[in-house]
Structures are given as structure tokens and as C-alpha cells.
Amino acid sequence: MREISITGGEPLTRKKTALSNKILRELNDLKRKYDNERFSLLPALYLFQREYGWLSAEALEKVGEILGVPKTTVKSVSTFYAMFRHKPMGRHLIQLCTNVSCMIMGCERLTDILKTRYGLGPNATTHDGRFSFLVMECIGVCDIAPAMVVDTDLYGNLTEDSLIGILERYE
């Protein structure tokens, strides 16, 4: 069985503070795409999360301000969805599936490695800020279980060794 990987879109870049012109441009494009500003709320939140890794209170406020949606509404929507993160994340985010198929295929060994090798438990971040680890429910690729997503890259048919190898690529 071979490790399968699908590399996602843009890599995550973290630790930005000011709004880049690029994201502002993207936001404005979004706004133009829908005639109701609320429709662009979810994509806008994704955009911010992609850019900053998580959604801070300031980010929520900013999204609201730009879209003209009350910040309370933005917070309500973003906290409803499990895939939005509301606390700071490490440079790279490991989302490991522990649902049925992956459990049968031995995801426990993988979480053990995260614990022993990186001192990383679920919902935590390594001290050096390199990795954060979130437990995922089925990510929809049971055929290549056990699977995980690192940042925006998907990996399947994981073994202890391949896991370590993959993670070494993320600094």
C-alpha cells in the first residue's frame, strides 16, 4: 500500500498582521459575486482563515466591517461551523481522522506518535508553534484510511513511518 498525497492550493502563511492588498482585493471580488452581503460571509471567513490560520476577534470584526454584516452575526456563523478555528494555530495544522474507517485502519498508532514524538495531543499546539493538531471526523476518503490533512494537503494510507516522513517536510 502506497502513501497517497494530494497537494492542496496555496500553502498557509501565518503571522501576518495587516490586511494585505491581495486579501482586500479578493474580498471585494467576493462581494461583487453575490448580491447579498451575507452570502459572501462563509467564503470571506475561509479567506481570512487561509490567510491567518485562525479567526481572531479582530478578524471577525474586520470581516463584518468590510461586508457590512454585524460582527455579532459573523461570530455566530463562524462559531457554528467546526472548521473555523477561534484560537491561534501553529504554523502547520494537522487534521487527523479518527472516525470509524480510520480507527479500524489504526489511526490510534498515529495519534500515539504525535503524542510521543511531538508531545502533541488533540486541540493542542507544539511549544515551538510548529504544529497544531485537530481530531477530524470522517474526511470522506475512507478508501485511503487512515488519512489526514496537513494544512491543505491530503495524505492517505498512512503508516507510522510515512507520517513522520510527511511531517518532516513541514517546517
Binding site: T73, S76, T79
Partner: protein, 880 residues
């Protein structure tokens, strides 16, 4: 016609209603939780389930509409089972800590559990635990008790329009919170806590101190904070007001209140209320008896009258006085003292504006029902933020805007920010030029109606500034101006909402003219914002230097004579001095004695130092107030006053609705009118009133406007202009209205520096709010709103201290950045010790006689050192 059968009863309706409303009409009670009459149908809690024949599933009565032939059953076994199940689900997490919940006794969940049971669920797991959130000074949130009916969120979003609350999280882990998760950052209307069916959002003002079943009485009255005049119910125990609440069926506010009406009642229980007369002896104010105080006033006033003549004496009333107090006050001044030197705070902006519009348009032109705002097809706001000055009126603007009605604001949009299509912030001279340009543009688009030749002559005759110049001066592009004129021209019945800051400026008279022209051209309805509950009333009562209590000018001999006959007094034929003129006269030593009822001149008038100087020059100053105000410090005699909840009377609101204010508690003083009639007796003028109703019946006899009204008769709150009198007929003079000279406004304005404008504050209203610990806890100190560009230039962050200086002095305020503001306008509130009036220069507009509330050419610096602004008020209490 729709006919349905509910529990065997047949009932018909013209239009489709919800099953819930249908059941109510049939006298059948269906339990509800998420439903609230003020809110739209929601269907979230499933408690109102009913059985509808031929429909397999139970239906929610609150959101399901009836259709012809429908057969509904509301209390079948299936229904009762379902309700019990819903309740059981709710009780899985609800803590049932009724013994120490403030809602107990009026909690809807408690009542329902008592009726349908069971008191406990079968759910074995533990309940959700969250600590009670006490981070906010006024509102406590208890997430454990919340049943997620979303009434609060819907109230805040759909009705209040503040959108300050929302649900965080999902499923059983969701809870209600403001954005910060802790303290609120909102309008503090408290409407959310009013609709919460359980004890999940409660008020701290009566925390653990309010038990509905221990309440002794409920008194229906009217709020005394602003000119809207919301109805409210004061709940009383041990002669003290423990809570103020609205009622959904009561008054024009229909179940809503603003922060002042809801929380501001605690100024009634303020610790340092005056409770005995004070008299200055050897420079110190000492407690004296009422007789001593009254004799002293009588002696000194007589002496001054003898030596300096009647016109050396003047009187000022507050817009918080009742009609009865105001009426007796002017009668005393005219009949006993013999002067027309009577005016009020309404004489500064509200009065002149109304008078001008009535003169040039028609009598009663400002008497428009507040509820009409949301039905207009356009809204133009200028001179103040209605959501701060008259908050419940402001809700009407928001509600119109939600329906798609265009709202255009000249000035800071404040609470209308999300609700206005356009907002134009600029300095006051530019506003005049801008208005002129608008009128000019509109007259090209709309034909002149041909009804008022004098006004049309002006509209046709004045020369506006060239569009480019007007746009340059205002800081907006020519297209903005043209587009706005175009948008306005498309309105057929707009509401024109006018605040006092457009009047209290050097070009105030021109602004009024252009606003009259705008109203005329657009067929608009004028609403004059009113910061005090009875500005209209004190004007109607004749607390004006040139108007009689009959609502007519005293210079017309027949009117004066008729009034003299009815009252049995002699009224001097010459008009007296206005509020601003009195202040000037006092400064120059021409006013020797001044009687101030309920007004804090030092804080209420621009240029506090000038006012202090005027007060110092007065030989004999009487101040009648509830509190030891800044003005009282200069008094020779201080008389304690009753608050509006401690006496009976009436208020006339800004739509000219007369409403009854009832006595809820006993105060430690005597009604103002009683005190004045005692003083009057020593002058030989016996008034002989026994009650407020007595006075009111005299008012109804003398006043053409209040003709045939009685105090009991107005109790239903339905007495609105023109009452029974019909409009008055007297000549509409327009002479003296000159063509406004826009060119000279542009040349002379010298408005190149930074311009400070007054910010009317949502949580404050002249002096009363300064004695409300609750309102002070929201905003304990004044601030300066400063635009981003200017703030960046000065490297000022939120909360930094900034020094604002003019020739008149300087103040230190805490800065708040505001992205709406341009770099040449800043806003400052008027506030105890340090508001904008400390640094405004005394300037009175010769035509409107209004003192200017703005100031140009200020210097703003960042302050490095922290300055303590709030002096301890108690320290300043002298004697007593």
C-alpha cells in the same frame, strides 16, 4: 372570509391570522415560549403545538396561518404529551435554581413547568454548567438558564436594530452573548432582558432585590428623559421605585424603552437628593425651614423690584418641569413680579425652530405622529442623531430603513450608520452652504407648489454658491450633492428630522429657512428632536418672553387683554428677554434676581465660564432643583424639588401629545407649583390651587390650544394636536425673513481649522442622567470622537487623553477613534466638569437668539499625563 373551528368554537376572520392569534380571539390560551408580540413569528420552541385536522403532524400555532375550514384542537392528549416532552427537553439543561433567580414569580418557564410538569427530566447526565457572567455593569447573563428561544437576539436585531447579541456555538453548546463574550458594547436599551422569558438576561439595577410578588403597586406614567414621552410602569416597594418597565399595549412606545427610560429611574434614589431648603448666610449655604426660605425670596425679590424695577427679575424653567409647574411659574412672573422675562431651555433651539416653521409654513407643522416615520417614503436627518436624542423615535427611522426607505443624514449618522444611504459630515458653515445647494438643485427638479408666495420668493430669489464651491467646502464631490438632491426629489412624503445643533450655530437662521424650503418643496413632515420631556409643554404654557399661555403673542393687545381678564392679572405689554439674553443681561448686571427652576445653566449652556460669570453677577439667585447642581453652587436660596415620579402633572411631547404623569412615590419636598404659589401670595397674588388638576383646568380655560381638556381626560394618552381647539389663526408674518446670503457665509466662515461639534449622548440627557449611577456606569466620562486621519496625525489611539483648546479654555478628554469623521470635525459630549461647553465661546445668533453650541479653530494635542477628570460631587455640597 376565513372560518375555522378551534376547540369546537367557530370563528371567522377577514384576513389570515396565525392560529395563535385566532385562538386568542376565541378566548383560548395556547402556551408559548419563543413567541413574543413585539417580535415576528419564529416557531422555534415547539411549545405552542396544536392539532390540525387532516394534517398528520402537530403544527406550531405561533407561525402557522389559518385557512378556511381549518379545524384546530389545542388541548388534546397528543398535544399535551408533546408539550410535556418539549418542556422535559428544556429542563435537561435548565438549572431550576428558581429560589435565587430574579425572574422567579414572573418566569414563563416556571409557570409552564408548574402547569405541564414534570419538574425533573429523566435525563441522567449532568447539566450544562456555566458561571454567571457579571462583567457588564448593568446586565447579567446566566447561560445555564437560557432556553435558546432567541427572543433576545431577534429583539436586538429586528426591533432595536443594534445587532449586539448573537448565538455562539452550536447545538447544546450554544449560548447567547455579546460580541466580546463579556461586557456589552451596545445601546443598553434593555429590551433584550425585557423579552427573555426566563432569568437568563437580567438587570443589575435590582439584582436580588426585586420579587414580583412583594411589589406594592404599579403606576402607569410617562418617561421623564426625553421628548418622545414613552409610557412606562413604575413598580414600587417601600416608597421606592424598584423597576421601570414598558407594557406592550401601552403608549406610543409599544413595549420598548431606551437606556434612559429603562435604567435611568435610579436617579430617583440618588443619595444626595436635596431634601430641605438652603439659604446663604455669611457666604455659606445652610439648611433653613420652608417659611424662612420663602420669606427670604419674597423679601429680596420685592426689594429688587422696588429698587430696580420688575424687569431686573427673570425666571428660567427646565424642559423637565410639568405643564402645571411651568404654567404657575409664568403666571407668578407676569402677575406678581410684573415681567415677561420668562424662558426655558426650549427657547434655545426647539422653540425658535418651531416658531419659524409655524410662521413660514403652517401652525402645528411639527405635530406629526412618531409612528408615521416608518411609513414615510424617505427620511432626511439633520442636526442630531435621533437614535441618541430620542431613541425610541430613532427606532422608527431604522424600521423604515429596513423596509428599503432611503435615509439621508447631514451630520454624524451615529446610530443610523448601518441604516443610512448617505451621511455627510462637515463643519456648520459648510452645512448651510450644502443645504442651500440642495434646495437649489431640488427646485430645478420639482415644481414649486404655488401655495406660499413669500417662501417661493425666497426659494427663487436666493443665490446659492456655485456647485463646485459648495462641494469643495463640504468635502464631498459635486456628484454626491446632485445625487442626493435627486434622491430627495424622488420622495413624495418624506420625514424631515431636525435636531437642535442645526439651530444653535451662527448660520442657524439660514438653516431653518432652507429646511423650511426643503419641507415645502418635498411636501415633508417635520419632526423636531427634543432632548427634554416637556419642551413643547413649557412653550405651550407661555414660558416664553413674548407668548401668552393662550398660545398667542402678547404684543397683540386683544389677546393680552383676554388673557388678563381670564387670569385676573395685569400682563406687561412688552416682550421680555430670552434665555440667552437673560444670561447676557445678568453678565452685564442688568438682571439682579434670577429664579431657575430645574435647569442647570452651567452645564446646559455653551461657554460655562461665561455662564458662571453671569451667575456670579446676579444679586439674588434662587435655584429649585432635585440635586445640588453646578448652578446651585451660586445660589442664595436653594429649594428642593420633586421628581416627576413624586407628583402628578402632565407633559406634552414632541408630537404634541399631552400625557399624564402620575405620582408613584412620596418625595421629601413640596410640589414646585405649591412653593411658587406661596411666594406669589406674599405679592398679593393668590392662586388658590389645590391640585395639579385644578391648574390644568385653568390652563384649559386660558389656553386656546388646550381648550376643554382635563387632566383625567388626557390619561389615555390620546390627546394629540390639534386637540379640541383646532389650529389657531393669526397672521403668519414673514417679514424680516431676508434672502440668505450664502456668499458671505462662504467668505466669513473662516472654517479652516478643526471644528468641534456637540455630540448628543445616548446615555445622557442634560442634568438628570448625571445622577443616575446606572447610566453613569455605562459612560462614566466624556470623550472626544476623532476621525482616523486626524488621530493618525496626532498618533492618538482609543482611550488616549487629548487636550482640546480654544480661546475660552481647554479640556482633557478620552479619545475615541471614529472612522466616519473627516479630519476637520471632531465630536465632544457635554458632560459634568469637562464637556465641550467648557470651551465654546459665547455667541448668540441675533435672529434665533440661540447660543451657538459648536466652536471652530480648536487645537488638539495628545496629553501624556493622566488627568483625573471626575471630581467627587459630594465634596461640593456646601452647608446642608
Amino acid at each position: 372570509m376565513i372560518t375555522i373551528t378551534i376547540d369546537g368554537k367557530k370563528i371567522s376572520f377577514e384576513r389570515p391570522v396565525t392560529i395563535l392569534d385566532a385562538a386568542r380571539a376565541a378566548g383560548i390560551h395556547i402556551p408559548t415560549l419563543c413567541h413574543h408580540d413585539i417580535l415576528k413569528p419564529y416557531g422555534g420552541c415547539r411549545l405552542c403545538l396544536v392539532e390540525v385536522e387532516k394534517v398528520p403532524k402537530l403544527q406550531t400555532a405561533c407561525s402557522q396561518y389559518v385557512s378556511d375550514g381549518m379545524v384546530v384542537r389545542t388541548e388534546t392528549e397528543k398535544v399535551v404529551d408533546a408539550r410535556r416532552a418539549v418542556l422535559e427537553f428544556l429542563l435537561i439543561n435548565h438549572p431550576l435554581d428558581c429560589p435565587h433567580c430574579d425572574k422567579a414569580g414572573e418566569c414563563e418557564l416556571q409557570d409552564l413547568a408548574a402547569k405541564y410538569g414534570p419538574a425533573m427530566g429523566r435525563f441522567a447526565e449532568g447539566k450544562r454548567r456555566y458561571p454567571e457572567n457579571l462583567e457588564d455593569p448593568l446586565i447579567v447573563r446566566n447561560r445555564e438558564r437560557c432556553i435558546l428561544c432567541l427572543r433576545c437576539v431577534r429583539m436586538c436585531d429586528d426591533v432595536q436594530g443594534a445587532s449586539a447579541l448573537s448565538v455562539t456555538g452550536r447545538g447544546s453548546k450554544s449560548y447567547i452573548e455579546p460580541f466580546s463574550g463579556g461586557a456589552y458594547d451596545c445601546e443598553y436599551c434593555g429590551n433584550c432582558l425585557a423579552v427573555c422569558p426566563v432569568g437568563a438576561i437580567t438587570s443589575r439595577t435590582h439584582r436580588h432585590g426585586f420579587r414580583p410578588w412583594l411589589m406594592e403597586k404599579e403606576v402607569e406614567t410617562v418617561c421623564s428623559y426625553c421628548g418622545v414621552g414613552c409610557s412606562l410602569v413604575l413598580q414600587v416597594r417601600n416608597n421606592s421605585v424598584v423597576r421601570s418597565v414598558p407594557r406592550s399595549g401601552l403608549g406610543l412606545n409599544r413595549g420598548l424603552l431606551c437606556s434612559k427610560g429603562r435604567f435611568g429611574y435610579d436617579c430617583l434614589n440618588y443619595g444626595d437628593r436635596l431634601d430641605a431648603p438652603l439659604m446663604r448666610r455669611n457666604g455659606v449655604l445652610e439648611r433653613v425651614t420652608w417659611t424662612e426660605a420663602i420669606n427670604c425670596i419674597a423679601d429680596r425679590m420685592k426689594e429688587i423690584k422696588r429698587e430696580n424695577g420688575s424687569d431686573a427679575i427673570a425666571g428660567i424653567v427646565s424642559g423637565r418641569c410639568t405643564n402645571e409647574d411651568a404654567y404657575v411659574f409664568q403666571k407668578f412672573f407676569r402677575g406678581a413680579i410684573g415681567t415677561n422675562n420668562i424662558d426655558s431651555v426650549a427657547g434655545m433651539a426647539y422653540g425658535p425652530a418651531q416658531r419659524f416653521f409655524e410662521k413660514i409654513l403652517v401652525q402645528g407643522v411639527t405635530a406629526n405622529p412618531i409612528q408615521g416615520i416608518s411609513d414615510s417614503d424617505g427620511i432626511f436627518v439633520i442636526g442630531g442623531d435621533p437614535t441618541a436624542i430620542n431613541p425610541v423615535l430613532g427606532l422608527q427611522v431604522r424600521s423604515a430603513s429596513k423596509k428599503g426607505v432611503p435615509v439621508i443624514v447631514v451630520g454624524h449618522p451615529g446610530g443610523l450608520k448601518r441604516y443610512s444611504k448617505r451621511a455627510f459630515i462637515m463643519n456648520s458653515a459648510a452645512e448651510t452652504v450644502f443645504l442651500a445647494a440642495l434646495v437649489d438643485e431640488i427646485k430645478r427638479r420639482r415644481p414649486l407648489p404655488g401655495e406660499r408666495p413669500v417662501l417661493e420668493e425666497i426659494i427663487n430669489g436666493f443665490r446659492p454658491a456655485p456647485l463646485e464651491d459648495a462641494s469643495k467646502m463640504s468635502g464631498f464631490g459635486p456628484n454626491d450633492l446632485v445625487d442626493t438632491a435627486h434622491a430627495l426629489s424622488n420622495m413624495s412624503r418624506p420625514s424631515i428630522i431636525i435636531g437642535r445643533d442645526i439651530v444653535q450655530t451662527d448660520t442657524g437662521h439660514m438653516n431653518l429657512l432652507f429646511l423650511a424650503a426643503l419641507t415645502y418643496l418635498l411636501n415633508g413632515r417635520i419632526y423636531l428632536l427634543s432632548e427634554l420631556p416637556n419642551e413643547q409643554g413649557v412653550l405651550d404654557m407661555g414660558c416664553q418672553p413674548d407668548m401668552l399661555p393662550s398660545g398667542r403673542p402678547l404684543t397683540v393687545e386683544t389677546f393680552r387683554k383676554r388673557c388678563e381678564e381670564t387670569l385676573g392679572i395685569i400682563i406687561p405689554p412688552a416682550p421680555g428677554l430670552s434665555y440667552a439674553e437673560m444670561t447676557e443681561a445678568a453678565h452685564e448686571g442688568r438682571i439682579k434676581a434670577l429664579y431657575v427652576m430645574g435647569e442647570d445653566m452651567v452645564l446646559g449652556l455653551p461657554d460655562s465660564n461665561y455662564v458662571r460669570g453671569a451667575l456670579r453677577n446676579i444679586e439674588f439667585l434662587v435655584v429649585q432643583d432635585r440635586f445640588f447642581t453646578e448652578t446651585a453652587k451660586y445660589a442664595d436660596v436653594v429649594l428642593p424639588a420633586l421628581s416627576w415620579a413624586e407628583k402628578e402633572g402632565s407633559y406634552t411631547n414632541l408630537e404634541r401629545r399631552i400625557q399624564l404623569t402620575r405620582k408613584a412615590v412620596e418625595g421629601e419636598s413640596i410640589e414646585e407649583w405649591k412653593v411658587i404659589s406661596e411666594i406669589s401670595k406674599t405679592f398679593g397674588l393668590h392662586m388658590g390651587y389645590r391640585s395639579a388638576a385644578d391648574i390644568f383646568s385653568e390652563i384649559a380655560r386660558v389656553s386656546q390650544i388646550y381648550r376643554e381638556l382635563t387632566l383625567e381626560g388626557i390619561a389615555d394618552g390620546k390627546s394629540v394636536w390639534p386637540y379640541r381647539g383646532g389650529p389657531l389663526r393669526y397672521d403668519m408674518h414673514t417679514e424680516g425673513t431676508k434672502l440668505p446670503d450664502i456668499v458671505s457665509v462662504m467668505e466669513e466662515s473662516g472654517m479652516s481649522g478643526v471644528h468641534v461639534r456637540r455630540e448628543a449622548h445616548l446615555f445622557h440627557s442634560q442634568n438628570a442622567s448625571r445622577y443616575s449611577p446606572a447610566l453613569l456606569s455605562i459612560t462614566p466620562e466624556p470623550h472626544l470622537k476623532i476621525g482616523d486621519i486626524l488621530a493618525d496625525r496626532l498618533s492618538v489611539k482609543d482611550g488616549d487623553r487629548v487636550k482640546v483648546s480654544t480661546d475660552a479654555g481647554s479640556i482633557v478628554l478620552s479619545a475615541r477613534r471614529d472612522p466616519c469623521l473627516p479630519d476637520n470635525v471632531v465630536l465632544a459630549s457635554t458632560f459634568d466638569g469637562g464637556g465641550i461647553f467648557e470651551i465654546t465661546k459665547w455667541r448668540v445668533n441675533p435672529i434665533t437668539k440661540a447660543p451657538a453650541s459648536d466652536v471652530n479653530g480648536v487645537v488638539i494635542d495628545k496629553e501624556e499625563a493622566i488627568t483625573v477628570l471626575h471630581k467627587d460631587r459630594a465634596d461640593s455640597l456646601v452647608g446642608g
